[in-house]
Symmetry: D3
Subunit: 243 residues, 6 copies
């Protein structure tokens, strides 16, 4: 195909895509995909504790610092990023913002979509982002929405890993081997100066998922996997071979 | 790889593999896989109503008729078949029979395994077959079981479609396009003289799953799918690309 | 009782009631029930692909064509139909529209209510319609809502069959035998010129549910069932006999 | 029909049928049903604390006392009772005992079957009794089991109320109005001298279920319900009317 | 600690906190906790049937009567109560009201929070109240919300008992012994003149939960428990000892 | 109380108690509890890959090496350990072995019990061990089992952390702070020479659970938690205070 494939990430706050899908972005970007991240908010109220504690802060200063971090991480991972600048804690998504996301789907025609877990009792912005990602996808498929545009097919939807997986009823049914791009993801992670306490946490997540991925291909498999990301595929897959 | 890939089907009764996995067998067989079906029983007591109503029947006559039908279907689909000849209604699997199935795993080294749904309130033989299929796989992975033999890796396990899916809490997360081998599956189905009332039932199942598979790749997809089989993959997949 | 019993169907789009509850409507109508369908939208944006592809279309033209089809189907099935003309893809239900539905409950005093499944990852309008059907029922029960009106009792709520049942976590716990009105339902289905690809799909659904209903009364039962509709009853039943 | 209808209760211990299904038995017995209870064990080890504390007890004495209580309760309720005298805590059911239960099904041809909840973390005998009740039903349906006998149809299976419902994942979807036979059930309950602490407990259960049943028919309903029993119907119902 | 501990109850209607958490309030109040109840509405439309049937009623009169009852009950239990006076049936919570609840969290700094079950098919106001209780808690934790205020820690959230527990998928994982304050709770219950039919219902609930609590500490335990309340703890506990 | 409290761990294989409950054992042992571990098997067939690969091995040699490792770990943690020496892969537990475990309950009178997750698709020995732990507890509570002995109360049952938590449907609802005994657990872990690849894996598990435990007490809490173990409490707790 002449046009490269593309992928879409819908991120509630401006750092989520790095911790949770940074490996997928780096890997597909490296393999020629056009990647796009939509950050619904900057996480300026709820996920910027360290910045606020600096003192002399305003919402605008925090947003600006968060934008910069996210942009740098995006550049390292090799993805476009668009900031919708909606509020956080609580995130509220108007129908206007929803339609803007529909436009992204129509323009990008993603081969697959990544967003948050369907539930998260610790963070209501996260499942709302996933809900919106799904709803925009459905509208983008509708022939009667802006007739004349090319509708979207049925890109698979994946939920990336939340912070406390079991509390979120999130179960990975797909492991992505990110060993070859781990150093890229780690560099992107290190852009998140405001959440340094999470660097090692998500490094350990990647190592644990790597061990589990290895186990799920079996000890007899040749492939060595050191780092992985877990995903819960929401939509069924359609295949021509079961192995 | 010089050795062809292989696949294993664990079927509670001697006709289950035809209705529920006939398309997968025909397709992979056509594509060069070595296929093997283990029929734990002939379904002689619980799934041979038509034969019993003929009158002048014995268990041995029913088993013999069922074996013949299953063998013919297997030949059409292109698979080996082994009959364990355990009892049905109720199926009982001794540790000795379990170990015989472990031997099959070790010898076959299947790339994937197909068996029944994890639950079935209408038929307790079915979930038991799946349980045994999983347990044998686990034992076949153990280094301490018959040390010296090559252990089995981590072949994915799929649950094929039960009769009343929703009552069995079975959800297909994988659709297999069987359009190109549908005629083969239909011919195998027609070997099941004793259950003629199910021929059209499972033809309709294949058509419905075909429509659903098509919907899950999206109307924009080029691939035409007319017939499909649904599978519930039990074990996570490990991938290098999410599209 | 002098007043005939009545039933209510809450349909997200103008064709849903035909595919999913056409048999129930035709049967109860035939048996003397007053039937009423509320179509929240025409499905003009999301379920009218064929009409849009004709070219030279506008929202108003599509809505008009959809209304006409639905009215014809309703006439064949023997039901009143009221169009709320809310938007679709996404459906949005204001409190004003909700109260209009409450009025319908109060006026109709339905013996039971049919609507969509509680979940549907392919279509967010569907579960919203069910949610609204339940919420309106609760409000119609409140003594303090328009005091002086007769409140509604506790009509059972049923979820009718969605397109991909297992993905919607929908499980039929009630089968309705529609054999004697199948021809009526089929004629109503054939009014849906814009979705001809679904005619055979839902004919097969009725046949499959017929086989399953037969199985659930047992092969020894006298009653012959050829076509059925599946329903998931949401609210408990209260009975005087368990057989 | 000339032959009266019949019902079957499979009770793990010799008192369970009284607390949990006494109303259903009394009501159907009164309405002309032939009723039969199978007590798999006497509950001699695990549910006879008061008897054991009397001192000078043996297993045989406890069993004898329990049998007498159960027989008296059965007489009051109007049901046959058969004691299989298997062990309790833990209950173990051999294939021979299972086949004896199959014989009961074949002879009784029950219109419906009542047994325990599918899970019970406080009592493993209970779900085993349900499992066996279901398995015997399946075998009794098999044409190849003792060919020549009349097979069983598809009698609905209900789980009656366990002691701590929510811990057992038991949800009542059917309430049976037992107001008119409550005094009979209470008299049967009072036969259980060894478990007097439960008399008021299960009287309160009946009152609570009565209030809930009333709520589920609505305050506008004429029928007065004071006492009820809750049941979880496991198998789908097949109906000709949804009200 | 110098400052006494505090607890928060978020109640959809003005009587819910009495039936469902009255024992917890009385007990903690007695033990020195500062208690606060937020009533989102008076339940004036949906839970005041008896008042409406008196005739000559207006919304204002009903609200006034409900407020008086609730205030009296609160006084007896020993808790502050604040009425948000939002609408009921349906309850609607604006972001403004949500922020008012956030203020309560920040001011009160509760050690734990009680609200409704996560689901309730009979009453959509109840789960909404719980949703809002959780969302306000999350916002109160955010450093960027009104920076300078003391943020809230991670107070455990409990769902108190709904009317029909199993239909609400509510499972108690925590029993609170309220024996010593039962008389206080009963007196508070008796303030609810408008819902006298529930007095005995919730007395029986307390007795049943008492029996169950006793069972869960074991018959060998010294503590006598006569009355209890059941709670479903939503958030994990962090402990230094497992007994 | 004069007699110290005690705790029981039921471990399918001889190393499980170290990875999964080593912190709980070390902590409670340090705090004066009598601790006892029952190892149902040595894990000689399924969890001793490294030993088998050494060559020149027999089942007896492997068992002996595993016993020695486990005994050393137990000594470090401060617990008694008893080896039942049943088979593994598959584990099979006879009623005789079950009764031996009942004896342990009766003699030990544990304040709480730890065992495996209720499900584990990767390892059927694990859920069987939990099943047996629960069943033995139920029998130990029965007055009619070896009358004269002191029966067991209702010790809470916890499922400790399995290898792939989400695949096992295991959700931690209790975090145990093991920071002060982490070094002890680590030393015990290092006894497991045959599974060195798991040392770092379970160190990371403890760190992740530590971060999560910290999050669940809130950032405002004084207590510092670095290492934790997650547990799923199966049985409800009975408390006198909700904070």
């Amino acid at each position: 195909m002449a046009t490269p494939q593309s992928m879409l990430v819908v991120s509630a706050h401006s750092a989520d895509f790095v911790w949770r899908a940074g490996g997928a972005i780096a890997l597909h970007s490296k393999n020629g995909y056009r990647c796009k991240v939509v950050c619904l908010s900057f996480g300026e109220r709820g996920e910027s504790a360290k910045l606020w504690r600096k003192g002399d802060m305003t919402i605008e200063k925090v947003k600006s610092a968060r934008r910069e971090e996210a942009q740098r991480a995006a550049d390292i991972l090799g993805t476009e990023v668009e900031f919708f600048d909606l509020s956080d804690y609580p995130l509220r998504v108007s129908d206007e913002a929803l339609m803007k996301l529909v436009d992204v789907y129509r323009e990008l025609q993603p081969a697959f979509v990544l967003s948050h877990s369907l539930k998260d009792p610790y963070n209501f912005d996260h499942p709302l982002a996933m809900h919106v990602a799904q709803e925009a996808r459905i509208i983008a498929q509708a022939e009667g929405h802006l007739p004349g545009q090319t509708v979207v097919g049925a890109p698979p939807v994946y939920a990336f890993e939340p912070h406390q997986t079991e509390q979120c009823e999130w179960t990975p049914n797909t492991f992505l081997d990110i060993t070859e791009v781990w150093d890229v993801k780690r560099r992107a992670i290190e852009c998140m100066a405001g959440q340094e306490h999470l660097w090692e946490y998500y490094t350990r997540v990647a190592l644990q998922r790597g061990v589990q991925a290895k186990r799920n291909i079996g000890i007899t498999a040749k492939r060595n996997i050191e780092y992985a990301e877990g995903y819960q595929r929401i939509t069924p897959s359609v295949v021509g071979d079961l192995s």
